[in-house]
């Protein structure tokens, strides 16, 4: 079904946050902390990063002042929404000895429902990829499902491309096309709001607003076009699947391995990386707990099997990450694992650039 877009002001945005809160959502959105724009609890418009933007490059992130008071005038930061939908550490169950032998208690799933404010198009695509990984295969992940179901997504069409952004190359942005309840496009002090679901339309109906005009809609399209034209990075994505898999012994892997710290940062900030380590650990009381934490294909133990690690060298680990992300992911899940958000470039301490690595391999 089609929905009607509206225009809201700052009072409408405040009412949106208030309405989500009244409806029982835990509202999470961008806010300034530790010289960066992170995702955290949002109580109102005042918590949003008004007048802030960021400068991003390989291994470099700096918060800067804008010359206006835009609330969403920056690219994605260090956090991805996966830290809420797929938390870094989960207790799964605990087993305690009792008179009957063992008593097993599953960790309860949270009852709170999330509302994400300010989800970018690349992030909607990333969430859709994790939905596929966790919900759409033969084995549904109950922990992801509990957090994902009932989540309310307010997207924002990017008005600024970051220095490491390349969503336009990956066909994942900058304009949000699916997977949201509402989308905002920011103008000075005003937002075009486009519903993407019945829940979104119903919520929009409760906000102070005016009907959007053709001119408003045109202006929003122009914002996305301008952003698409100012991407900080570009990746030639066509044929990258075969390119990488045909070049598994390319000398560039040695080159990147010399720079790679195998610290795992790229995988931890990547909004689609989903790998975990599951550990059963007992304590001195005789109880055992099973936990699941984010792991990384950059750690040696990640590929440990009897006799040792399958990928002992950083070269093999970097190659595994990049070929999975851009090539074998397609075979496995039917889409690329990369959404062009640029986080792996910005948050790599030595600024390894996945777009540059592809270019180098393409160069022969």
């Amino acid at each position: 079904m089609s929905y009607h877009p509206s225009m809201i002001g700052l009072d409408g945005l405040a009412a949106l946050i208030e309405a989500l809160s009244v409806d029982g959502f835990r509202v999470l959105g961008p806010t300034v902390r530790d010289d960066a724009i992170v995702y955290d609890d949002i109580a109102g418009v005042d918590d949003l990063p008004a007048g802030w933007t960021d400068e991003q490059d390989g291994g470099r992130y700096r918060l800067k002042r804008r010359d206006d008071s835009a609330l969403f005038g920056y690219a994605v930061g260090p956090h991805a929404w996966k830290r809420f939908l797929h938390p870094p550490l989960l207790r799964l169950w605990r087993a305690e000895p009792d008179s009957a032998g063992m008593k097993l208690t599953a960790a309860p799933e949270p009852e709170e429902r999330f509302a994400f404010l300010g989800v970018r198009s690349c992030e909607l695509h990333a969430i859709a990829i994790q939905d596929k990984v966790f919900l759409q295969g033969p084995y549904v992940d109950p922990h992801y499902k509990a957090r994902r179901e009932g989540a309310f997504l307010v997207a924002v069409n990017c008005g600024t491309a970051g220095g490491t952004c390349f969503c336009a190359s990956m066909n994942t942005g900058p304009r949000a096309t699916a997977g949201f309840d509402l989308t905002l496009t920011e103008f000075t002090g005003e937002f075009l709001v486009e519903p993407g679901s019945d829940a979104g339309a119903a919520l929009l109906a409760r906000l102070p607003q005016r009907a959007a005009t053709e001119a408003d809609i045109e202006r929003a399209r122009a914002v996305s076009e301008r952003t698409a034209a100012s991407m900080g990075r570009h990746m030639q994505a066509d044929g990258v699947h075969d390119l990488l898999l045909d070049n598994l012994e390319h000398k560039r892997w040695d080159d990147v391995a010399a720079r790679c710290l195998s610290c795992g940062n790229c995988t931890q900030v990547c909004p689609t990386c989903f790998c975990t380590a599951v550990s059963d650990v007992n304590d001195l009381s005789g109880a055992t707990e099973r936990t699941r934490r984010w792991d990384s294909c950059f750690s040696v133990d990640f590929s440990y099997i009897h006799g040792g690690s399958v990928r002992p060298s950083p070269r093999s680990r970097y190659r595994q990450w990049m070929t999975h992300k851009l090539a074998s992911w397609v075979d496995q899940f039917g889409t690329s694992g990369c959404v062009g958000c640029g986080r792996c470039i910005t948050w790599c301490p030595v600024g390894i650039d996945i777009t540059e690595e592809v270019r180098a391999i393409r160069g022969g």
Binding site: L63, C263, A277, S279, D283, V300
Partner: protein, 260 residues
């Protein structure tokens, strides 16, 4: 009536060190009674004067070897111990006192002590593993008490300790800390340092000091230019890797690459 099974005997030994790692065991507070219930504390002078004779099922060894007397004492500790676990940076990688390895220790003693002739010490500070076989090395300056409990529990149950060897970065990301290096707040050794502390320093706007020593497959050479960008000079690069784990192979090599 059958006798209850004998509890494993635990001994805690001190070599050249500050006692901070042993203190982590006493620091266990809530879990200390569980430890005392699971083992018989047979030798732990920092906690009790009671001494039980060896052999011991588990020996925790703190500190490095800096005297001939300690080198000989350590052989006896090993002989008396079924399992020997080193605790902390001194025991594992020579500790702060390992700075002597790069200089002339007699010069130090002549400056520090009024009567250096009373000081009998070795030219170098060496890890426990230089002298005897070690069953497990627990990292940190000081060690993390939760990791200590995990290692003790693992050994008491005959399983592998769940102590990841990945970078401190993984812990920063798990707790949501924004990278201090990338945002330009501090020079940080996190990408080459073994996890275990829970990434405390970056959470307080400081770079990682490398207390837990090198992570698995560390690449300090690649990190060096970024430390320079963050304000570290050549002298700093030479020194930063010597602070707590000066003889850990990857840290030693990198510090020597920058001279001094």
């Amino acid at each position: 009536m059958a006798k209850p099974p004998r509890k494993p005997k635990l001994a805690v030994w001190k070599f050249a060190s500050c006692d901070g790692c042993q203190l982590s065991l006493l620091d266990c507070e809530d879990e200390l009674l569980a430890v005392a219930g699971a083992v018989e504390i047979a030798y732990f002078p920092e906690a009790t004067r009671a001494v039980l004779k060896g052999p011991y099922d588990i020996s925790l060894v703190e500190g490095s070897v800096t005297t001939q007397h300690d080198a000989e004492r350590l052989l006896e500790v090993r002989r008396q111990s079924r399992r020997l676990i080193t605790i902390g940076a001194c025991a594992t990688a020579a500790g702060i006192q390992g700075l002597r390895n790069f200089k002339d220790v007699r010069e130090f003693t002549s400056v520090v002590y009024a009567h250096p002739e009373f000081i009998e010490t070795l030219e170098t500070s060496t890890p426990i593993s230089t002298h005897v076989e070690v069953d497990y090395e627990l990292r940190g300056c000081p060690i993390d008490k939760h990791q200590l409990l995990e290692v003790l529990t693992a050994f008491l149950n005959g399983r592998r300790p769940n102590i990841p060897a990945h970078s401190v970065c993984v812990e920063c990301k798990a707790r949501g800390t924004v990278c201090v290096l990338v945002r330009g707040a501090a020079a940080c050794l996190g990408p080459v340092t073994h996890a275990g502390c829970g990434a405390i320093c970056p959470a307080y706007n400081r770079g990682c000091y490398g207390c837990f020593g090198p992570k698995e497959t560390p690449n300090a050479v690649s990190l060096a230019p970024r430390l320079v960008d963050a304000g570290m000079d050549k002298t700093g690069l030479g020194r930063v890797y010597r602070t707590f784990n000066p003889v850990a192979d990857a840290f030693k090599k990198e510090s020597e690459r920058h001279g001094t």
